[in-house]
Symmetry: C2
Subunit: 154 residues, 2 copies
């Protein structure tokens, strides 16, 4: 499916929320509870997602009573591609997209597969798009650049 999973959506929401709270690099920590209090996301899921993001060094975690999560980089240094790769596995671009072989041929021989090469081109453009979209660009314009109504979550 050409669709983001719920995990990724939850991750995006969590990251946007953390970014809005200004929790960057141990400056402050946002708890999973705060996130799922605000949005109807199961607490367990948000924890699982954040854990995955932490493993990919996108967020840092702090245990204990006042613990939580914080971005490990500034929002403009985090890309959608990194988030998706962290939550949905390595980009399928690397693995042979269409392991189609001619009868008797091998997929290794590129000229035999009619669509592998062009589809790879498309996939690369797609990931390029994701890589050029930063977390910051997903934030609801904090400094009033655009006239979008701020959610005013806090």
């Amino acid at each position: 499916m050409l669709q983001l999973t719920k995990r990724t959506e939850y991750g995006l929401i969590a990251l946007v929320h953390i970014a809005e709270r200004g929790a960057v690099d141990s400056g402050a920590f946002v708890s999973a509870r705060e996130i799922c209090d605000r949005y109807p996301i199961p607490r367990r899921l948000v924890a699982e997602v954040l854990k995955a993001l932490q493993k990919h060094s996108l967020v840092e975690s702090q245990r204990g009573a006042t613990g939580g999560y914080a971005l490990s980089r500034r929002p403009e240094a985090i890309t959608l591609g990194q988030i998706v790769a962290a939550l949905e596995g390595a980009p399928p671009l690397t693995s042979c997209e269409s392991p189609i072989v001619l009868k008797g041929g091998g997929c290794e021989v590129q000229p035999l597969c009619p669509i592998r090469s062009p589809v790879h081109r498309v996939r690369e453009q797609l990931w390029g798009l994701l890589e050029h979209t930063t977390l910051e660009s997903l934030l609801p314009q904090p400094s009033g650049a655009r006239a979008r109504t701020s959610p005013t979550l806090s």
Copy 2:
């Protein structure tokens, strides 16, 4: 998953093959058997996929002994977006991508969802990419070596 299904890949292969054979608009018909003789695709699957493509008016079918499938339009008038939409359902762009609601809020109220609007933007770009990629551009350079898909959208 941000990945095309096997069905879509099979569909692309079938369409590319049909296009290469010059079967356009009842000019000639390519049988499913010919396709799966050439590529290791289960005959049943290719038939199912072609049927779906036919329902979406991307190919036409002819029953009988010398029957088969033909493109209903020229390859440059068929886009990747149309193919994907036919084989993986309506573009998820229309349905609310992240049905996230604030506690007590509704997803209908757009300003409340922090990521819906930005994610929609990204999705639109993505589909724009697919819509600008024609079946012709997926062909292995028939004559004019214009293997472009869409020019720099970022």
